[in-house]
Symmetry: C2
Subunit: 145 residues, 2 copies
DNA sequence: GTTTCATGTAACTTTTAATGTTACATATTG
DNA sequence: CAATATGTAACATTAAAAGTTACATGAAAC
């Protein structure tokens, strides 16, 4: 996987977990389906675990599973748990902040970014994991063994 | 300048142009103040020129100037002219789109991104170059010779 | 017209963040 | 204790942005 957002990776993994209720999926199995690496999966799902969205268990028959129903997981929950940034950063060079113009630009941009984050979060809250899952399932998809 | 957004660079340059009405500023002079390179300035302002926000003139006493009053330049105008992305990209790996889940995730994310772009553009439209400039000028700033 | 100065732009290098990889410690099941 | 999975550190790779160099093009001043 070259350049997809961690958010997309997370959602893809979560749909797989939702599709296999009661069965823990390993990082390795998910990595194969997501066309990425097991460590990358652990890094992403590790954040979701800290956010209480998924559970992880070690040992034989261990792996990842949803911590609560897909209906109760919004994209905002996932976004927040990951500390993900949907907005690109706009800070200026630290050596440049002695300039009053730079400070004003930074301040205006910060106000904008703060507003934008709130707007985005509100929009993300409107979509739930179950919305993605039901659409994907309606079309059929390969299950993990 | 290590990692600031092109949008910040553009706004910084535009405020300088606004502060020196009737006088064209060169890429080299702006680069010094923006703590970056003249070619970077030309690349950014070149897009604004195509968007009708600034004018460029060659030869002695040439350089960059605003194409219209700062009151008539919104952050949205600048954003649009630059084809800038405030949102990080979320596409999945092209080799992965045979998976129905990936396609559903991508579709949901695309809907979200489209909505988000509209929200951000509307928010950007509320701030004008003159808003940034008047704040910066109230605090004083170094003029370019 | 020639000199000077500025933009326009191509080609290349450097830098940075994200991602991928390897290796191994830790914990859990049976 | 053997097998298996997460957790994580350390390092390598990759891709995008920015920086740099070099030079062609065009406009003003003399």
């Amino acid at each position: 996987m070259k350049r997809s957002s961690r958010l997309s990776i997370a959602l893809h993994a979560l749909v797989h977990l939702h599709a296999q209720p009661g069965k823990a999926l390993t990082s390795a199995a998910l990595a194969t389906c997501l066309m990425t690496n097991a460590v990358v999966v652990r890094r992403v799902l590790g954040e979701l675990r800290e956010g209480g969205i998924v559970d992880a268990s070690k040992g034989p028959n261990g792996g990842w599973s949803l911590a609560r129903p897909a209906e109760d997981i919004s994209l905002r929950d996932v976004y927040t748990a990951m500390g993900e940034r949907l907005l690109v950063r706009t800070e200026s060079d630290p050596g440049d902040v002695t300039c009053a113009i730079v400070r004003s630009v930074d301040r205006v941009m910060k106000e904008f970014i703060d507003d934008a984050e709130a707007l985005l979060a509100a929009r993300l809250a409107r979509t739930r994991l179950s919305d993605i899952a039901s659409e994907a399932m309606a079309k059929g998809f390969p299950r993990l063994g």
